[in-house]
């Protein structure tokens, strides 16, 4: 039928054809129903946001579109034509490119080598490298995508590595570009630059699909937004006709508090005092560089910064995992830095919720009750001598699960089977068990769904109001701003400055990027 149409009639139809149509996509991973009958239309030349909590199925859906997984059911159309996408190779040939959350780059390769990988054009790579060099110059001019073609990718900062990923996709002729959580590793300034690039790509007729869980980004840049919840597509809206509140509600399925409600802090005595703390890695680089600050009882001190600027190392030092090269960590009048041993540090009354839940917080193959006593396994109430009282362990976990609303409330389920939010609750329950005076917590809500975020935030405020000291490290600036009473910004291992919670976001952003007015 379509063949009988004349050119004149086919022409306008082409421009109206959506870039991508997903029809009834269904995908299961074992018992997990990751995508339930998802249908979505993405208009050509638009920026289409896909938002949803972690585990809502956004990444799975895009991985199917990019040929990384095969859908169990459903159909994909690219520019109106039914497409069989069995591998990334097919997707690339259909003009689909993807910038993954974890970059797919070969670190020891140059930018050029990374760009031509998979698009060499012939048996020898010489001509492709020359072509890529010319193409990169053109893309740099057109889209502000400057990057040195001969730089070794592993030595570039993350912001530039992301640019290389975008260049890779464009070099392979991507008409539709999928970006999976692209701003997680960027400073606010870098994120703004990325959005400018995406805007230019759209203006030149490219289609952009942006996966994110940040409502602000959706509002700032997209034309349309699709909301996903537990594998289902809940709604697709025009961005100009929706609001942050509506989207948040669609994401969770009920009204959520976006701002954390809290009274004014009543700071008491100094609980933790960090003095001229420095830690050098094996290469002699100061990863924590002469850091000093205090945390008082009854306040939350937030440490903001782009990940990799020394926050992780700072947490490890205070929790006793590593020993300071120089400087002191004084907790309730006692230097705990010299202990260099988490067990003794915890016995002093300091609790630690580690940044990396999967590796440091719990043991995935242990059941919940076993993960729930990690570090307290020698506690007398859990057995005598070398004997562990299984029943006591399980009972303890049961009561903690009830108190912290862990779902499912089964102490014998493997830790790995819980969602991120419930894992975090198990850890938080364990750490608060001994009624610590200071809680240090890293990335409390990374990979945690909105419902659990609300719970965890409330819990942290409650702790503060009970007169405990809380040191919060997070790369989510929104989280830092809504919870903290004072904000310290870290950059390149140093504290760039201190701000209060009401201070301007741009100002904190500048500090995060290492631009400081009060560097003295």
């Amino acid at each position: 039928m379509a063949l009988s149409l004349s050119w004149e009639r086919a022409e306008p139809k082409f421009t109206m054809t959506p870039a991508i149509e997903l029809i009834g996509i269904d995908k299961r991973f074992g018992a997990v129903h990751a995508n339930k009958d998802v249908s979505m239309t993405i208009a050509q030349g638009s920026i289409h946001g896909i938002i949803g909590e972690n585990g809502a199925g956004k990444s799975t859906l895009m991985s199917i579109l990019f040929g990384f997984y095969a859908a169990d059911k459903g159909e994909i159309k690219v520019k109106g034509q039914p497409a069989k996408i069995k591998s990334s190779f097919d997707a690339i040939n259909l003009g689909i490119g993807m910038v993954h959350q974890h970059f797919m780059l070969v670190d020891p390769f140059t930018v050029l080598e990374n760009v031509v990988l998979g698009a060499e054009g012939g048996r020898l790579i010489g001509p492709a490298l020359a072509k890529a060099r010319a193409e990169l110059t053109r893309l740099a001019r057109d889209y502000e995508l400057d990057v040195d073609p001969d730089a070794i990718v592993g030595e570039l900062p993350v912001g530039l590595q992301q640019r290389v990923e975008i260049l890779k996709a464009l070099f392979k002729g991507a008409e539709t570009l999928i970006l999976d959580e692209p701003t997680g590793v960027l400073t606010p300034d870098e994120a703004d630059h990325l959005f400018r690039i995406l805007g230019q790509l759209r203006d030149q007729g490219k289609t952009v699909i942006l996966i994110t869980h940040k409502l602000r980004e959706i509002m700032a840049i997209t034309d349309h937004v699709s909301v996903m919840r537990r594998g289902e597509l809940v709604a697709t809206k025009q961005t100009s006709q929706t609001s942050v509140e509506e989207l948040a509600e669609l994401m969770v399925g009920r009204r959520v508090l976006l701002r954390v409600e809290k009274g004014k802090a009543k700071p008491g005595a100094v609980v933790l005092e960090v003095k001229n703390l420095t830690w050098r890695d094996s290469k002699g680089t100061a990863r924590v560089d002469n850091v000093s600050f205090t945390v008082r009882a009854g306040e939350i001190v937030g440490i903001a910064g782009v990940s990799g600027n020394g926050q992780s190392e700072l947490l490890e030092l205070i929790s006793g995992i590593s020993k300071p090269t120089s400087g002191q960590i004084i907790f309730e009048g006692k230097d705990i830095g010299i202990l260099g041993d988490p067990r003794h540090v915890r016995q002093e009354g300091l609790a630690h919720v580690p940044e990396d839940r999967q590796h440091r917080g719990l043991i995935s193959s242990f059941d919940a009750s076993e993960s729930g006593i990690l570090g307290w396994h020698y506690d007398e109430s859990l057995g005598h001598g070398f004997r562990l009282d299984r029943e006591a362990v399980v009972n303890r976990c049961q009561s903690e699960m009830r108190e912290f609303d862990v779902r499912p409330g089964d102490p014998l389920l493997k830790s790995a089977k819980f969602s991120g939010g419930n894992q975090q609750k198990i850890i938080l329950a364990r750490e608060l068990k001994r009624n610590p005076d200071l809680l240090i917590v890293g990335q409390p809500t990374r990979g945690v769904d909105i419902g659990a975020i609300e719970f965890i935030h409330k819990r942290l405020i409650e702790l503060r109001d009970q007169g405990k000291a809380v040191l919060l490290v997070s790369v989510e600036l929104d989280e830092i701003r809504s919870l903290s009473d004072r904000i310290l910004v870290m950059f390149a291992g140093r504290i760039m400055g201190e701000r209060d919670a009401s201070s301007d976001e741009r100002e904190i952003g500048l500090l995060m990027a290492g631009v400081s007015k009060d560097a003295a």
């Binding site: 990384f68 990334s88 690339i92 070969v106 670190d107 020891p108 990988l117 790579i125």
Partner: protein, 320 residues
Amino acid sequence: MDFSLLPEILASTIRLSVPLVLACLAGLWSERSGIVDIGLEGKMLAAAFAAAAAAAHFQSAWIGMVFAILVSLGLALVHGYASINQRGNQVVSGVAINMMAAGLAVVLGNTWFKEGGRTPALPGSARFLPIDLPGSAVLADVPLLGAIATIISGHSIITYVTILLVPLTAWALAKTRFGLRLRAVGENPHAVDTAGISVALLRYKAVIIAGILCGVAGAFLSTSLSASFVRDMTAGRGFMALAALIFAGWRAWPALFACLLFGFLQASGNYLQGVHLGGVEVPVQFINMLPYLLTVILLAGFIGKSIPPKASGIPYTKDR
């Protein structure tokens, strides 16, 4: 010491380096693709046995070579299947191949030839014999040039081909599409997969190249360097090649020089037997120990500075 022996020691160095270079290049191809190959020794040993047995049976060095390559390739594919499809532990698979080859060669040799695990001595017609380069005989008495002729002439065809393989490997890795993809898959297979290239296929190609090279190395040992197979005749050369590979930082040219160094120590060991040091005769065993001692020293001293391909030894799965 008698310097008139030097040209002969150097010629011997080249001969003894050949199996090392071949095994080292085999390891290089395999490990640059992310497959750790500790089974170089076993593949070479099995190939040496296959070459000697087939050459003795068919009275042809070339048929021996074909069998050597087939047997080594078979073992390489077993290693590939275990490491690529089954995502097994690559070290365990390699060790299994080494043990299997050492045992099978002796058992089969004994069953077939009844000479205590040896194969029958091969006549010259069933071996790869030295080729005298044209003009080398004329130069023999010229000072310097004669010495050079002694060093570079009079090697078998396998030796000359091996020397050509070094620049070929370096070029293929750096300049070809296959080389680029192979290097990429050894560093970050996820990047290769998302570029729409099959990780498994690339790794199989690398494993196959390693199999062929080990096959040639084995054939060289039993049908060129010697005239029969004897048990354990590889004598740890596969491991020495691995040491050279690490020392060379997984690069072709440095690998050649590392192997030449090992070869030189072996060669001087052969010529220095009965040497006196301060009036005491140095036991042969000490001299023969040198290449192995060097292996230990190099690995202890240099392993920290040499960076292996990042994904080597790690089975590839799609989950991130």
